[in-house]
């Protein structure tokens, strides 16, 4: 199983079950949840099913491309189903079968794992899904996003693409995974994860642990915050303001990886990001309530019953 084949299968599976297939959002972020397709999609009452792959950056997890199991940036396949369907677990299990897992031969468990994203004012309850002892997915019923109760509740499923691919192939080193094949006149060349990503892992790890300019990052954090509040307060633009919050979040993560954030400062900085994301969420909901006409299309074309 190649990385790209796994992504194709999951996208096909969820598209066939009534999901829009979204695209990664073109800003650095720590998890697929931060993509506006999820953050704003989970708010309000409008039905919303969407699936997409999100490259997710965790500066502190960087290992210079040397650790066979950990990455600075990994791929998350993210699925949002709103409202959560009654058969959501069955749907998920079918998606495993679509990936080629024959569940008659494997051990599948849903173990408690509650999720919380303090910078997004979001939390939910759910499970880590264990296949033969390995966590292959996170499964969450969103209870709050942007500090607001989710009504209705969305189910969020997150697949760790690299891990699942390693598991399915029995390969012990991320970098030995095959991304896909390149066909040329000279023949077919499988391309490894190493070729596609290892140098990037090295440089980005080095950047977040050693070379990131601390002074600049602290200034950026402040500047993104000011910019975000200006956009939101002066213009009521919650999408562009939310982008600034995402940039704050990534800047904060880089500062954290560089060891520049003390345990005492941490909660305060997280709160500053959360204040902005939550304000964006409130503005989005207020906007939808005031201007339902702009959403007519989305409502009319909502999820098939």
């Amino acid at each position: 199983m190649h990385i790209q084949e796994l992504i194709f299968r999951l996208q096909r599976f969820w598209a066939d079950r009534g999901c829009l297939i979204g695209q990664p959002y073109d800003l650095e972020k720590g998890a697929g949840t931060m993509n506006p397709l999820t953050f704003f999609g989970a708010l309000g009452a409008r039905p919303w099913n969407v699936a997409y792959v999100e490259p997710s950056r965790r500066p502190a997890d960087g290992r210079y491309g040397e650790n066979p199991f950990r990455l600075y940036k990994h791929l998350q396949m993210q699925v949002i189903l709103k409202p959560s369907p009654a058969k959501v677990q069955d749907l998920y299990i079918q998606s495993l079968e679509a990936m080629g897992v024959d569940l008659r031969k494997h051990d599948l468990r849903f173990e408690e794992d509650n999720w919380e994203a303090p910078t997004l004012g979001a939390w939910g309850v759910g499970w880590q899904v264990m296949l033969d002892g390995m966590e292959i997915s996170q499964f969450t019923y969103f209870q709050q996003v942007g500090g607001m109760d989710c009504r209705p509740v969305s189910a969020e499923i997150t697949y760790g693409i690299e891990r699942i691919c390693m598991f399915l192939t029995g390969i012990d080193n991320i970098y030995d995974l095959v991304w896909g094949e390149v066909k040329t006149d000279q023949g077919v060349f499988p391309v490894s994860y190493r070729t596609v990503r290892q140098r990037e892992e090295f440089e980005l790890s080095a950047y977040s642990f050693e070379h990131a300019d601390l002074d600049l990052h602290w200034k950026m954090f402040e500047a993104f915050e000011r910019e975000g509040w200006r956009l939101l307060n002066d213009l009521g633009h919650f999408l562009s303001a939310y982008e600034q919050a995402l940039k704050m979040s990534h800047t904060f993560n880089v500062l954290g990886a560089r060891g520049a954030v003390s345990t005492t400062e941490r909660p305060g900085l997280i709160k500053r990001i959360r204040d902005l994301t939550c304000a964006c969420a409130r503005a989005c909901v207020a906007h939808e309530e005031q201007e339902p006409a702009t959403l007519e299309a989305a409502k009319g074309e909502g999820v098939p019953a």
Partner: protein, 687 residues
């Protein structure tokens, strides 16, 4: 009861967190038992079942209907219901009509509380069918369960621990009809997911008695104790097959029994090269990350094998084994990486890094804390006749492992890793042991540090935290104790108490508070006062844990508690007298003495020559023996002997007599007696 039936209720959910299963099951069982007692007048046992997706209960022997109940209705007075010719009036007829009876069934009686005879009818209220009562009560009982982390799902406002997907509720063969959040009850349930791959239909349950058997056919062992027993048997067998025995972990076994529906142990191996890791690291890593048991040989050395549970009956193609082995390799690879990285630098060279690790915003860094603990350790070690320098040495090393990678990954290995690294750096055994043990006791029933130095370091560390937090106004209040200070305080007292260390908790607390110095935001006197109440409560709890009877604890504690060795001896001695009736009498007398002396200023010396009555002279004669030095047992014997003479004294002598000299002598006598009592206990609290 002639016609009885069984009730079965099963709530089938998506996977319920293991930690909520037993509490929810018990809470509902208690609720339904109380309901049955109230409405059906039956005291019946509730069988409980749970698995990851199921909460279920069964009650056998329920009556099919409530018993009929006679009910008396009282109406207007007789004079209004009948006229002069004993004929019914309009009022009388209306009363009969109201209750649906003929006027001939109306009697006239004088009910309690009425001044004259009134119209009375006795009605038989037919007992309602049990199934109706259950249909009303069960959904209410379920909805009122206290769910600690309740959730909503879909578009509903209903809250429960996890989404409810099916309800099975039988009374005999009959379905008890109700619904919860749109899910109706029925006579079917769902078996194991594997089972349903071949059988898409739900599983019918024919009658409550057949529940476990029918579920077992569908792949689920629904009784948790049964799953645990099966897992335990397989663990023993498979460990023996691997030439070893299981490294016991009751908590892990409980957890495994709660997270599978079809209990099967799978055995796997990991590469032998990982055995270079400390045993604790392997055991913790396997248990925490993989919910797996380690296997050890007869000498306690680990084997490269593990045992874990699967939620299926078998492992037909070895995928479960190889999958778990794969994950474990990844985990151990990480653990070894951390271990090797950590060992590149001697543990103690991390002291400087502790400067940047905040212990508490207002109480400085772990470096600061280490310095404070070192001073405390040195003082305590010297006070106990040990080498003070050793105390300083272990204190300075004890927090260095907090900045190691391994403790970053496994916080529960704090202390343990410090000890392991020091051991490998050839530190003296008493040093690495002390560091390893200094977080003990981690819970009320876990061991305290075995070594002297470990005990001292454990006390110093905890005491610094407790005194520091009190000094900045962060003492626990009510149910709020976010910094777990009560547990820390209990640990201190437990170590002192069990080790018989003669260290006054308040003296060392004062030393700890000195160390906090200018960081304190509260006046020292106020802090000491709060600490005194705090430690007194901890000591009281320790006495309770040690199993001393209530009167012994109360009376002994009130006579002083800061000398724990002495307190323990007094409690031991008092316990031997706990059932002695003379102590009841002594308690009465002690109370009287207390009441009398309450209003008296401390007065003159006792002049026995002024005493007149034989009863008081007897008491004065006993004083010498009571006040002599001796062991607690003989003192208590003397006190017990005092019960009779004291009773005689109080019945014969008026203490507050008119003669001021005599009165003063009597007061002085009582004061001496009270002093003798208080050497052991405050008997006024002996009840």
């Amino acid at each position: 009861m002639s016609d009885t039936r069984s009730l079965l209720l099963e709530i089938h959910c998506e996977e319920i967190p293991a930690r909520f299963l037993a509490p929810l099951c018990t809470e509902f069982a208690d609720g339904v038992q109380a309901f049955i007692r109230d409405t059906l007048k039956a005291d019946l046992a509730v069988e409980r079942f749970y698995s990851p997706r199921k909460l279920a209960w069964r009650i056998q022997g329920l009556p099919a209907a409530q018993a009929d109940q006679a009910e008396t209705q009282v109406g207007p007075p007789r004079r209004m219901c009948v006229d002069g010719q004993d004929q019914p009036t309009q009022t009388g007829l209306k009363f009969a009509e109201k209750w649906g009876v003929g006027f001939d069934q109306v009697r006239f009686e004088q009910p309690a509380g009425k001044k004259e005879p009134c119209a009375v009818v006795t009605l038989t209220r037919t007992g309602r069918p049990t199934v109706d009562l259950l249909a009303e009560a069960l959904p209410r009982l379920i909805a009122s369960l206290h769910v600690p982390k309740a959730m909503r799902w879909g578009a509903s406002e209903f809250q429960f621990v996890r989404p409810i997907r099916n309800l099975l509720c039988l009374f005999g063969a009959e379905v008890v009809p109700f619904q919860l959040d749109g899910v109706p009850t029925g006579a079917t349930t769902w078996g194991h997911r594997l089972f349903h791959m071949d059988h898409p239909e739900p599983v019918p349950v024919s009658r409550p008695e057949a529940y476990e058997a029918e579920l077992e056919r569908a792949g689920i062992v629904v009784a948790c104790p049964e799953r645990r027993a099966r897992l335990e048997r397989q663990l023993t067998t498979l460990a023996a097959a691997a030439q070893g025995r299981v490294v016991a972990d009751e908590h892990l076994l409980d957890t495994l029994a709660e997270i599978v529906e079809c209990p099967t142990i799978v055995a796997g191996q990991f590469p032998e090269s990982f055995l270079t890791l400390p045993k604790e690291v392997l055991v913790t890593s396997l248990a925490e990350h993989q919910k797996a048991f380690c296997v050890e040989d007869a000498a306690g050395a680990l084997l490269p094998a593990f045992l874990t549970a699967a939620n299926r009956p078998d492992d037909p193609e070895g995928f479960v084994k190889s999958g778990n082995e794969w994950v474990l390799r990844a985990r151990l690879y990480d653990a070894r990486f951390f271990f090797e990285e950590d060992r590149k630098q001697p543990l103690r060279e991390r002291m400087d890094k502790l400067r940047h690790l905040t212990f508490h915003r207002e109480l400085g860094s772990y470096f600061d804390k280490t310095q404070r603990i070192a001073a405390l350790c040195e003082a305590m070690a010297s006070a106990l006749g040990l080498d003070g320098t050793d105390g300083r040495l272990v204190a300075q090393a004890c927090k260095c492992d907090l900045v190691t990678l391994m403790v970053g990954e496994f916080p529960e290995l704090q202390g343990v890793m410090g000890g392991e690294y020091l051991k490998r750096e050839q530190a003296h055994e008493k040093v690495w042991r002390a560091v390893k043990e200094h977080y003990q006791p981690v819970s009320a029933d876990s061991p305290i540090p075995a070594s002297d130095l470990g005990g001292i370091l454990a006390i110093a560390d905890k005491l610094d935290t407790v005194a520091g937090c009190f000094a900045i106004g962060q003492a626990p209040t009510g149910s709020k104790d976010p910094l777990a200070l009560r547990r820390a305080g209990q640990g201190i007292i437990r170590i002192l108490f069990e080790r018989d260390w003669n260290l006054n908790p308040m003296r060392i607390a004062a030393l700890a508070l000195d160390g906090i110095g200018a960081m304190a935001t509260r006046p020292a006197a106020e802090t000491m006062e709060a600490l005194e109440a705090f430690f007194r409560d901890r000591v009281a709890h320790q006495l309770e844990q040690a199993g001393y009877p209530g009167p012994v604890r109360r009376a002994a504690l009130a006579a002083g508690w800061t000398d724990l060795v002495d307190l323990k001896a007094r409690c031991e001695a008092l316990s031997a007298f706990a059932d002695d009736p003379r102590f009841q009498s002594l308690a009465q007398s002690a109370k009287r003495i207390g009441n009398i002396l309450k209003d008296e200023a401390p007065g003159a010396q006792l002049d026995p020559g002024l005493l007149q009555e034989p009863e008081e002279k007897v008491l004065a004669g006993l004083l010498g023996g009571l006040e002599a030095d001796g062991d607690q047992d003989s003192l208590l014997n003397d006190l017990a002997e005092l019960a009779g003479p004291l009773e005689a004294f109080f019945s014969a002598v008026m203490v507050k007599c008119d003669d001021p000299g005599l009165r003063a002598a009597r007061i002085a006598l009582l004061r001496r007696l009270q002093g003798a009592f208080l050497r052991v206990a405050d008997f006024s609290l002996w009840q």
